[in-house]
């Protein structure tokens, strides 16, 4: 094993930073100190304790993991099936141009391909970040629901109380269940969302009652109802009433 002094690690924030370090040949997998990576990571975790942004922390850990994985792969004995010539070439050239053959060192193609694909989007990300900031201070005359963050989730005409009372009617019609065994239905929410989508897709909209034609048991009714709430929360569907005490109608959120 090479006797390289351990390089002091640059703080790694995202895969992007890692890619840059790669590009400049700053990080040789063998010279990365696992201890440093862990120390930096712990330090970063402590720093963010006040404002834990899980996405940020996740990205950070992912980057740290990538570096450590690269090192661990380098430490393993080379695969017999790997290209012997490339290995010999590296031996012959020695350390003279260690910086320039950094790409060779990193011929971990899967990782490189991944970083490539990821990097391709970085210009776009910069552009979006710039526009996000610039357009934050531009207030449109009309504040559409999609921009207004404070928008109530259920449309004003139909409140949760309406939905619950409509649900009660449906439940009263649903037959009692045998409770001799508890059926395992882990995917009921997803299924319910799927079935609501397909009912709406048929006619472009659906009445509240139509959503519950298929489910016959009380637990299925509840599942479909929860699925409806979830779809409302995700703003995939809206509920409305065309008149007081009229049918509750569910439709997809229109694309404006």
């Amino acid at each position: 094993m090479k006797d390289t002094p351990h390089e002091r690690l640059q703080p790694i924030r995202t895969l992007e930073d890692l890619a840059r370090s790669l590009e400049r040949g700053e990080v040789d997998p063998l010279s990365v100190s696992v201890h440093d990576v862990l120390e930096e990571t712990m330090h970063e975790m402590e720093r963010t304790q006040g404002m834990p942004d899980l996405d940020y922390v996740g990205d950070y850990l992912s980057a740290a993991g990538t570096v450590i994985r690269a090192k661990s792969e380098k430490l393993l004995p080379p695969d017999e099936s790997e290209d012997d010539e490339a290995e010999d070439d590296n031996e012959a050239q020695g350390d003279i141009d260690s910086a320039s053959d950094c790409d060779e060192e990193w011929s971990n193609e899967a990782l490189l391909a991944h970083l490539m694909e990821y990097r391709v989007f970085q210009d776009a990300v910069e552009e979006l970040a710039r526009r996000d900031e610039a357009w934050r201070g531009v207030f449109p005359r009309s504040r559409p629901s999609e921009i207004n963050i404070e928008e109530p989730i259920i449309s004003t005409e139909v409140g949760l109380a309406h939905l619950l009372s409509a649900l009660k009617d449906i439940l009263e019609d649903a037959p009692e269940e045998e409770f001799s065994h508890v059926p395992q239905d882990e995917l009921m929410l997803e299924e319910g969302m799927g079935s609501i989508r397909s009912v709406i897709q048929e006619n472009g909209e659906a009445t509240f009652r139509e959503l519950f034609i298929k489910p016959v048991t009380r637990s299925k009714v509840i599942a479909v109802f929860l699925a409806l709430l979830e779809l409302i929360r995700l703003r995939e569907v809206v509920v409305r009433q065309n008149q007081h005490f009229g049918e509750i109608i569910i439709s997809f959120v229109p694309e404006t």
Partner: protein, 175 residues
């Protein structure tokens, strides 16, 4: 119809429109060809500019829309009109990938970003920047995600074509 009248009507239409008003829609209402409409709107925009108005007309998501000028953002914000938060880096990255690769499934997004995106995706859906546009014809029928017109308005983009072109080849990335 006199020019000044047409100009006043178009100004009123843009003011009252619940979202970006497409030139096509103006044409349907006023029976004018698109070139005339565009030149009239340019005229209105120039007028606002000359008067140093606090209002401007921008072209976003395929239509014209009245907005305040960004110079006065600090004052307008005091109205409590709900100044939005800027998006986090992971959210921007996820959005960028969706914008270029749409319609795209969650596993495809996660493969590129290298991390799970479900919470980010939920945030983007709640802000209506992203929507489920369909289901992929693959096992499990995974949801396909696309950007919305709200996405274009959020970033002040006339259309998706306004995004910078993606770096195509290996060399341009400096590897």
């Amino acid at each position: 119809m006199e020019y000044s009248e047409a100009r006043a009507i178009i100004e009123a239409l843009i003011f009252a429109s619940p979202g970006p008003l497409s030139p096509k829609r103006v044409g349907e209402i006023l029976d004018l060809d698109s070139r005339t409409i565009e030149s009239i709107i340019r005229d209105i925009k120039d007028k606002y500019h000359r008067d140093k108005s606090g209002i401007q007309i921008v072209f976003v998501a395929g239509g014209y829309e009245m907005t305040t000028r960004s110079e006065y953002a600090d004052y307008v914000a005091k109205l409590n009109v709900g100044v939005r938060q800027t998006l986090s880096r992971p959210a921007l990255e996820t959005l960028a990938i969706i914008a270029y690769r749409q319609p795209v499934t969650r596993p495809e997004l996660e493969k590129i970003r290298g991390v799970r995106v479900d919470s980010v995706l939920n945030t983007l859906m709640e802000r209506r920047l992203v929507r489920v546009s369909g289901r992929k014809k693959a096992p499990g029928r995974p949801a396909l995600y696309s950007t919305t017109s709200g996405f274009l308005r959020w970033f002040g983009l006339a259309s998706l074509e306004e995004l910078p072109p993606l770096a195509q080849d290996f060399d341009s990335l400096g590897f």
